[in-house]
Symmetry: C2
Subunit: 215 residues, 2 copies
């Protein structure tokens, strides 16, 4: 009985967050009222306020929820690279995953909304940046360092190398999506190719010189 | 007399645009009224409407004005690379310039505002993207192709190579600035170093194999 009650409460909470996200994306943060959120979620305004003290709290929880969706990818970074026996293949796999994670419509939409609201919510924007984009970089850097120690990469500055890896892959599609929306015109094949080419350039720059080569 | 009249008219137009930009950045597009713009510009509301049919037109002209500020850099791309006799030095110069142009507070602020409004103004956002970020890429690509023909680079796909050049340099500081604002914590020296390191990786990947090397 308690479980059911909790389940219903969690479902309500989720439907309020979904309704709010829909409305924020449609009308902007300022253009959305708690009344409209309650109506779309089909709950009372009282229920909305019981779950979220105010509209700002609701926005915060939605944004940080999106940030939390990188968790699986963060685990994948470690799992894939830690004991790799085929670095090239594994980096390609990771590059494609990375681009797919970032290019999910939900992530792109919330990113655009948050950037637009970042002057009003500087702390939330910074918290998101630290929990999602930057966190991937800080997860990647020590793995690149480890690969350096194993002699598989030549990485003098792991933080910088992580940034190069990230933006060789994400740069173009992410920047374009910020302006033109989800419909960048890139197909799944285009994205895979961009990831592959980014990894190729990364490896060309960061692979250790082969013994006996001239460089 | 006519010249003076024109000068005064241009000054008024500029002061209206500056007032509008200030208010848009402070209160958002929706949160700003034509009345407030007129008051801050110290002109009559009639003068505002004589110069700009409506608030949307004003926003459009501000955004496209910012896009136009890449013109000097676009010329520099051609001038610097066309007959280069020291590619490495010239690419470093260009890389630093590029990052400086994009990281100007005015550009960053308008970029954030436009991204936030891109759902409401999809055509304007696309027009900006095509006139500024994408235009740099399309100016860069044929220069890289020419450098390939001269044997100074090995570039199979000039469009893709232009994107790699761009985001190796811009990626981190630009993405961070979208969330945390102008105050990214990066000094001018940090930015120069990021540009230099981006160019280094670009050259490592795109320099032709030296005759006699193993690769």
């Amino acid at each position: 009985m308690i479980v059911t009650e909790e389940g219903r409460s969690a479902r309500k909470r989720r439907s309020i967050m979904e309704a709010a996200a829909t409305l924020f994306l449609r009308s902007g943060y300022q253009g959305t009222s708690m009344d409209e959120i309650a109506a779309l979620a089909a709950v009372s305004k009282q229920t909305v306020y019981k779950n979220f003290a105010d509209k700002e709290r609701l926005f915060h929880d939605i944004i940080m929820g999106v940030a939390g969706t990188v968790e699986d990818f963060l685990r994948s970074v470690g799992d894939t690279l830690r004991d790799t026996e085929d670095l090239e293949t594994d980096l390609h796999t990771l590059g494609r995953q990375y681009l797919q994670v970032v290019m999910r419509p939900q992530v792109l939409q919330m990113r655009r909304l948050l950037i637009g609201e970042s002057a009003r919510f500087p702390e939330l924007a910074r918290a998101y940046y630290e929990k999602a984009p930057e966190r991937v970089l800080t997860a990647l850097a020590p793995e690149l360092s480890r690969l350096h120690d194993r002699g598989l990469l030549a990485v003098a500055d792991p933080d910088l190398a992580a940034r190069h890896f990230a933006f060789l892959i994400l740069g173009t599609p992410l920047d374009k999506a910020m302006f033109v929306g989800d419909d960048t015109g890139f197909t799944a094949e285009d994205l895979d190719r961009m990831a592959d080419e980014g990894v190729r350039v990364f490896l060309a720059a960061y692979r250790p010189a082969e013994p006996g080569s001239n460089s």
